[in-house]
Chain length 331, copies 2
């Protein structure tokens, strides 16, 4: 499959290579007749102008790199769809990388992305201590991650989300509320959710209790941790899980152990991705404004690319989605 060249179009249209190039780039004076002739030839040959050559000229690639932990996770899948769509509307194409919680892959990928001369990066991975971020000299926006003082962050309100979750459980009668979350040294947002949990529990005079697992634990290991938690602590009557995958696992474990949800045990998750809400419609959760996070991230990145002013942090409000894993609230 030989790639078509400018020469082929020129021959077909009966004009010079320079004329074809001028038509593609709309440079110099061109008669409509010439434009029509060249475009007809391009269309007939199914020739697409070489954007790469244009890039060398403009020093812009119109490519944006997006790094996420994994688009197979419904939250990051949905975030990527909205980012990609907003960037598409702004004239950009997206290079996607799933870091898979593997710092080495992330590092290699970052080096290569910079080699590909992307116009900017959107970073939503967990490994913020990668050295490349400290030296990168191109526009970057981080989603929910602190990378460097001069890299703007777009996130949802993790502190308010943690507060909302604990309040919802407390108002429905829970007094033994556990918070489950995944640990990661640079996992900025969970710290805020956890801090909100601690503060809100203290404000109610309740004793906090946390159960941690690691991002790298397998689904089986997570299930074992959660079974042990519920078996060893029959007094637990409320769970605030830091993400919906863990909340769904806890719901499944609770049902298997014969705990009645929501009568004896209430559960609230975090994230509220569309696919998760469809797959587990019963689950109460704190819904992050995923589409808004994506559009603000793209807006901020575009401003960075243009060199105009941006906020260093943009925090967007979250909402509570009540579900059958919470009791109905009696007013």
């Amino acid at each position: 499959m030989k790639k078509l060249r400018l020469e082929d179009v020129a021959a077909k249209a009966g004009v010079s290579k320079t004329t074809v190039s001028r038509v593609i780039n709309r440079r110099g004076s061109l008669s409509q007749k010439t434009i029509d002739k060249v475009e007809a030839a391009m269309s007939e040959l199914n020739y697409h102008p070489n954007v790469i050559a244009q890039q060398l000229h403009t020093q812009q690639t119109k490519l944006i790199g997006i790094l996420v932990p994994s688009v197979a996770n419904p939250f990051f899948g949905e975030l990527t769809v909205y980012l990609e769509h907003a960037l598409f509307l702004a004239g950009y194409k997206v290079l996607i990388a799933d870091a898979l919680n593997n710092p080495e892959k992330e590092q290699r990928y970052l080096r290569q992305l910079m080699g590909h001369q992307v116009d900017g990066l959107i970073i939503a991975t967990h490994n913020s201590d990668i050295e490349e971020y400290q030296h990168a000299n191109l526009p970057i926006v981080a989603i929910d991650r602190y990378l460097r003082p001069d890299i703007p962050v777009v996130s949802s309100d993790n502190y308010a989300g943690g507060q909302l979750a604990v309040e919802a459980l407390y108002q429905r009668g829970c007094r033994h509320i556990v918070h489950t979350y995944s640990t990661n040294p640079s996992n900025w947002h969970d710290n805020k959710r956890e801090r909100a949990y601690q503060d809100t529990m203290a404000s109610y005079g309740l004793t906090p209790m946390t159960c941690t697992s690691s991002f790298n634990d397998s689904p089986q290991e997570k299930l074992a941790i959660f079974s042990k938690l519920l078996e060893e602590h029959p007094e637990i009557d409320g769970i605030f899980a830091s993400n919906d995958l863990d909340a769904a696992r806890l719901l499944s474990v609770a049902r298997r152990l014969g705990r009645r949800v929501p009568d004896d045990l209430q559960i609230i998750g975090y994230d509220g991705a569309q696919a998760t809400q469809e797959l587990v419609p019963d689950l109460a959760t704190i819904v992050q404004p995923i589409e808004k996070m994506a559009t603000y991230a793209v807006e901020t990145l575009e401003k960075r690319i243009k060199g105009t002013f941006t906020p260093s942090t943009t925090v967007l409000p979250v909402t509570l989605k009540a579900g059958c894993t919470l009791k109905e609230l009696n007013d």
Copy 2:
């Protein structure tokens, strides 16, 4: 943020631009001392060689475009992760596009991808009647979609999957088995699943019954269709849903209507994405070998790019994952 140029490296290393270029492309005779000097300068300046300029030279971009309906769907999210990872290991970067069941977006995107001179395309979208596919003169592999006689297809065994699903329900006592699926004129795989359903029902002497919805129905519309189905047909004792999202919706509708699953009603879905299995661990499903589909698609595309022989169709086996939505099988 000014982009660094070859000149800057040359000045720093105290050599000519040509020498820097020769070090980057490893061309001509170079002393180790010169290589070290130039690489030290590049590293110190945090300069990344301009891959775009190299691309013009080699006529390869090392970019592959992937078109999927939406990475927010757990099946396509997982497929994309595996495709991206296999391509990464093969030295390619991925341009991702979510067509969102919008043929116009898909068409515009395709035109632009061709303009970006990708080395190849992997297509997993539903809109196979887009004209661009008929004229595209670059290596393409389709996943589970028929596009054109000379475009190879990698898919899982949809006919065997349909058969496995109906057999599993029949062996567990179901005699009124409905098949739910989404309609789309070019939706190749579902036709095979549906054909297998029809054939297997006929082989058991059972009357087939299908319930169709559209890809573009909202979650609410789907729930309404499924509620109506179960309310109007209390005799239904088995459901074969063509995808796990619909199966999860049917499970939720059945529970709300007080149908006991699996005692009175058994359900089996299709796809078996990891995130879905984690979110709805109870659901029985036909598991597609998503990782294998991705690696075979990438292998086939690499062969196309090199111009070597490939099968026109590669079909990979599926497996049954029994779950609590099916009764235990008594031998």
